[in-house]
């Protein structure tokens, strides 16, 4: 019975069968990359630390997707679905962050690096605590990071 061509192609792609060796190889690479990211992360590299960590994570993620999840053997829709979802993740990340970076400073959350305002004092009692913490009654406001409320 005739069917949509996509399914034939899909079936053909999926019938490739490899030895188990490649999984072990990928696993080894993933472990090495984990060690690399931990070691470089420990160094607390100043500016490109985050970038490096994310690049390593992306490489690891790509390996998992391509070989463990067999995306390398897929064609067509399956790949597009995965690719498109990543595109939208990036979009969703980029626009709010661009917003925070370019916003009128007064509209950013007080106390953040893009704001000139002091963080607000959010009261006493159960909600006591300068930065939103503190169910403990002995929590005080005289920790060094805590300026006097209402001044700047």
């Amino acid at each position: 019975m005739a069917i949509a061509n996509e399914s034939h192609q899909e079936e053909k792609n999926m019938h490739e069968h490899h030895g188990a060796g490649r999984y072990w190889l990928i696993w080894g690479v993933l472990l090495v990359l984990t060690v690399v990211t931990v070691v470089t992360g420990r160094m607390h590299l100043p500016s490109f630390g985050l970038l490096l960590a994310l690049v390593i994570a992306t490489v690891k993620g790509t390996l998992v997707a391509l070989y463990f999840m067999h995306l390398s053997e897929h064609r067509g829709a399956n790949r597009i679905v995965f690719g498109v979802s990543i595109v939208f993740v990036v979009l969703m990340l980029a626009i709010p962050m661009a917003d925070l970076g370019t916003r009128f400073r007064g509209a950013n959350p007080p106390g953040s690096q893009y704001s000139d305002l002091q963080p607000p004092d959010i009261g006493t009692g159960a909600q006591r605590g300068r930065f939103g913490g503190g169910l403990r009654p002995h929590q005080t406001k005289d920790t060094p990071e805590t300026p006097e409320p209402g001044h700047h």
């Binding site: 993933l30 463990f68 939208f88 970076g101 913490g133 403990r136 920790t143």
Partner: protein, 221 residues
């Protein structure tokens, strides 16, 4: 995922073709594409938290640095290795399912489950420590060692994302447990009938994939 018509006869392991599909190829293709779409929704689900992470890290870099240093890197690293290894065994399960070695499929899934459990146990100890010292989200935060703007947000993001991830670990374990029982009991996986193993394992890889990103984001930077 359709149940099999023949069970445990070793040779004719062909899944039942649902009435509305033209052929088995189409049925498998549909299941796989459906799974990819579902995984895309999972990625977008976690992406929401990644956006919160990214924005607040951008706003409060110092709190983020302090927060990530306060986490236990050793436990995090061990957990990463455990999860990556469990992903390997899940991938191997698919490999053996294609060859019809049902016993190995079951064993591999059992190993995966053991490691998943190990992951959760380690996570439990990490959580317990945080509950003890008070690095908790929002108004529950009472740790005096770190007081700076945005520090409670770090732990809000930490707890929300790790809890959501842990929930996915539990769901993944359920799926894999079902596949494992079937591999041991019905023994009907084979070259033409491994869709269930494949899809379950794909879900597990996604759980791994999310952790691969969460780990450096939370523990390292």
């Amino acid at each position: 995922m359709q149940s099999s018509a023949h069970t445990a006869d070793g040779t004719a392991n062909v899944p039942r073709l649902a009435e509305h599909f033209a052929s088995l190829e189409v049925q498998n293709h549909a299941a796989r594409l459906g799974m990819w779409l579902f995984l895309a929704t999972e990625i977008l689900l976690f992406a929401g938290l990644f956006v919160c992470y990214g924005c607040y890290r951008f706003l409060f870099p110092e709190a983020w640095a302090a927060g990530s240093r306060s986490l236990d890197l050793t436990m995090g690293t061990v957990n990463t290795i455990v999860l990556i290894t469990s992903s390997l065994t899940a991938a191997l399960a698919v490999h053996y399912a294609k060859e019809g070695k049902n016993k190995m499929v079951g064993v591999m899934f059992a190993l995966t489950l053991v490691m998943a459990l190990g992951f959760l146990v380690i996570k439990y100890f990490e959580y317990a420590h945080k509950f003890h010292i008070g690095t908790l989200p929002g108004r529950y935060y009472f740790y005096e060692g770190m007081q700076m703007p945005g520090i409670t947000l770090y732990f809000t993001v930490y707890f929300c994302s790790t809890a959501l991830h842990a929930l996915h670990v539990v769901i993944g374990m359920t799926v894999l447990a079902v596949a494992m029982v079937r591999a041991f009991k019905k023994k009907d996986f084979g070259p033409n009938n491994y869709t269930m193993v494949e899809l379950g394992s794909m879900y597990w890889h996604l759980v791994d994939l999310v952790w691969i990103f969460l780990f450096p984001m939370l523990y390292l930077v």
